[in-house]
């Protein structure tokens, strides 16, 4: 089974940088770990950094939508953590998952480069202070985000973007299982998770009325949640 030759296509180093931000590491850190861990990673890092390949229009639209979704989750969980009104296990979840979602924001902004959009404004309308409502909302967002990323994984043009989305996708599924476990809902109900459409996610976001204003956009940029 060693027939596949593996090599990095992360020519621009963009993924490496995004992961540096995610793991709190540095390129140098990866080098150090590479020395510990083996040649494969070193090979990936030694690939010369070239100009970042431009994302296709489709990939930009997908990544912008995801960025807005991550902004929302990061803001909601961070607020729950700051207010400290939910139960202890939920609070712990907010703290860890909030940090992860902030990491996702950075990673997706990194992938988008100059095409990144700023965050909308949010009002969570008390949801971050009520354990039951917060937990239910978090389950909905985590399940749906994982489902949406499946749909997007087959839509994106770039395999580099696909690889990055896959590495975030499984973390969203961990979040979903964890919050379900806290809420006494089966963490992994079925053998296969279903994909979902962007429309369903837009509907969920709209139903919450969490988004109070979209940032002013420049040029052709469209706010992600207007579908």
């Amino acid at each position: 089974m060693s027939g596949l030759t593996l090599e990095s296509v992360d020519r621009s180093g963009a993924i490496a940088e995004a992961f540096d931000e995610l793991t709190g590491g540095t390129r140098a850190d990866f080098f150090r770990k590479g020395l510990i861990g083996g040649g494969a990673m070193l090979a990936a890092l030694e690939t010369p950094a070239l100009a970042q390949p431009r994302n296709t229009k489709k990939d930009v639209a997908i990544l912008r939508f995801d960025l807005n979704l991550e902004y929302l989750q990061a803001a909601m969980y961070s607020e729950a953590e700051r207010l400290g009104q939910v139960r202890e296990r939920t609070l712990e979840w907010s703290r860890v998952v909030g940090a992860n979602e902030r990491g996702h924001v950075k990673a997706i902004r990194g992938l988008l480069g100059r095409d990144a959009v700023p965050s909308p404004s949010f009002n969570f309308r008390g949801v971050t202070e009520d354990d039951r409502t917060f937990t239910e909302t978090a389950v909905a967002f985590e399940d749906l985000t994982a489902a949406l990323l499946k749909t997007q994984a087959v839509q994106v043009d770039s395999r580099r973007v696909l690889a990055a989305l896959a590495s975030l996708h499984s973390v969203e599924a961990r979040h979903a299982a964890w919050i379900r476990h806290i809420a006494n809902i089966v963490p992994a109900a079925e053998a296969f998770d279903q994909p979902t459409s962007k429309t369903k996610v837009v509907r969920l976001v709209e139903s919450t009325n969490f988004v109070t204003s979209l940032p002013r956009t420049r040029g052709r940029r469209k706010p992600g949640f207007t579908g």
Binding site: M1, S2, A40, A99, R160, A163, S170, H181, F192
Partner: protein, 218 residues
């Protein structure tokens, strides 16, 4: 080395680094037993893998490459299915671990069937495994389940970008469930279910090395 095995349940950046699966932990089974005895619930059984950066196959996705990848992923699923089968046969677990094993075992068997049906009549057959006391000792069971589920997530994430799009969907629908298993069993084990914002992607070689390091006999 002990910091490799002791994971605080926190989400700060330091934990994200320490909690990474990016170190090539190649523990033998003997070491696992020792660590399990010493660490009492703060143990990682098998660290999967260096890496961390998604690496793509040099060749573009193709049906031939799909086949080779699916055969590989089937092997990973075989190990998991066999593990939970042995656990259920042994009947040593109680309470939530037992419930977890029964449900997750069903999922892994369904994954095996899905991959076998994609591969058709020439799909590789399931080997026999010997998991030692990992299926009968409750602490070792949980730690081994964490390790095998982490390994499956990393293995699938590593191969997803190398598949053709219809197979990407198959793999995404499976990896999502494996990641739910990880989240569930890590919470059961009292360990941070999502210690990092991004999951690792393992190559076949890395996955194979991690599997060999378990010492589970094929």
């Amino acid at each position: 080395m002990s910091e490799w095995f002791t994971r605080s349940r926190s989400g700060d950046a330091r934990d994200a680094v320490d909690g990474g699966l990016d170190r090539l932990l190649t523990l033998t089974r003997g070491q696992l037993v020792t660590r399990a005895a010493v660490g009492a619930g703060a143990v990682t059984a098998v660290g999967v893998v260096a890496g961390g950066l998604p690496r793509l196959a040099a060749s573009e996705p193709s049906r031939e490459q799909d086949r080779s990848i699916l055969e590989w992923l089937l092997r990973v699923e075989y190990v998991q299915a066999a593990f939970y089968d042995a656990v259920e046969r042994g009947g040593a677990l109680q309470g939530e671990p037992r419930e977890y094993a029964a449900r997750v075992g069903r999922h892994e068997r369904a994954h095996v069937e899905a991959l076998r049906s994609e591969l058709g009549p020439d799909a590789p057959e399931r080997p026999e495994f010997d998991f030692g006391d990992a299926t009968s000792d409750p602490d070792r069971f949980v730690e081994t389940a964490v390790a095998l589920e982490e390994l499956a997530v990393a293995a699938l994430n590593g191969q997803i970008p190398n598949l053709t799009r219809p197979r990407v969907m198959t793999a995404m629908r499976i990896v999502s469930v494996e990641a739910r298993h990880v989240g569930w069993v890590r919470d059961l084990a009292g360990r941070n279910p999502a210690p990092q914002p991004a999951d690792r992607a393992a190559t076949q070689d890395e996955t194979r090395a991690a599997l060999q390091a378990t010492g589970f006999k094929e």
